[in-house]
Symmetry: C2
Subunit: 155 residues, 2 copies
Amino acid sequence: MKDRKQLVVSAIKDGTVIDHIPAKALFKVIDILGLDHIEDQITFGTNLESKKLGKKGIMKLSGVFFKQEDLDRIALVAPDVKVNIIRDYEVVEKKVVEIPEIIKGLVKCVNPMCITNKEVVRTKFELLSRHPVSLKCHYCEKITDANNMVIISSR
Amino acid sequence: MKDRKQLVVSAIKDGTVIDHIPAKALFKVIDILGLDHIEDQITFGTNLESKKLGKKGIMKLSGVFFKQEDLDRIALVAPDVKVNIIRDYEVVEKKVVEIPEIIKGLVKCVNPMCITNKEVVRTKFELLSRHPVSLKCHYCEKITDANNMVIISSR
């Protein structure tokens, strides 16, 4: 058992812990996972010290278990997260996330003339590269990359 | 000292604790206070059991102290929050929040024809009533109330 001072947010009995979220991406991860609509107990910590990331965020979701495809959506903004599945206070599974090959409705197309920016059409991209992120629009074929990527809020 | 199991997010040495946030308003409070831009350590808990509110949220902001006028802005979505100012792990001040008489740039005017919805003009309202909330637009004089109030995200 860790010392309480180290444990910024308390342990959960069953659920999902997402750790090593870059601090700047925490609220984007919250958006992508739609956590503002979840009615289960959730705790977050952000701007915690991390040797690897500088500042990191962590979240613990009590009684919440995600599908791998939903978790993979956060890889766009937080590719190095560690996801632990907890049962009866123990880690029973460790997961990683990976940007999917096809990304639907999560990222805005960089091209202002793209049909997805002109009409109510859900965006769709093909993944060209993971490091750094590079996405090709299914409709206009323009490339959206890490530098100009805008996440579409679920709200 | 409370039992660790009750303390969902750990105590802070110095800073601000905002408690009794209605769970549904937590992310709006985060928006209004601009917490996604703060680089200090913040912890949140939401959907915690509360006898009074049903489900509540709490946040603890280490090293962060707000001006009363900034805190008052959250009264629109979380009028009954309890704000505790912490110094050296002790509560040194308890604050309440109150909706200001003039509200600038926080709420969308309900009138789609209002100039604030047609052009890039910051909204401005006069407070008519706190319980329930009723706001009169400075420009078009239409009434925006609790039922149709939309918070303008800071993001």
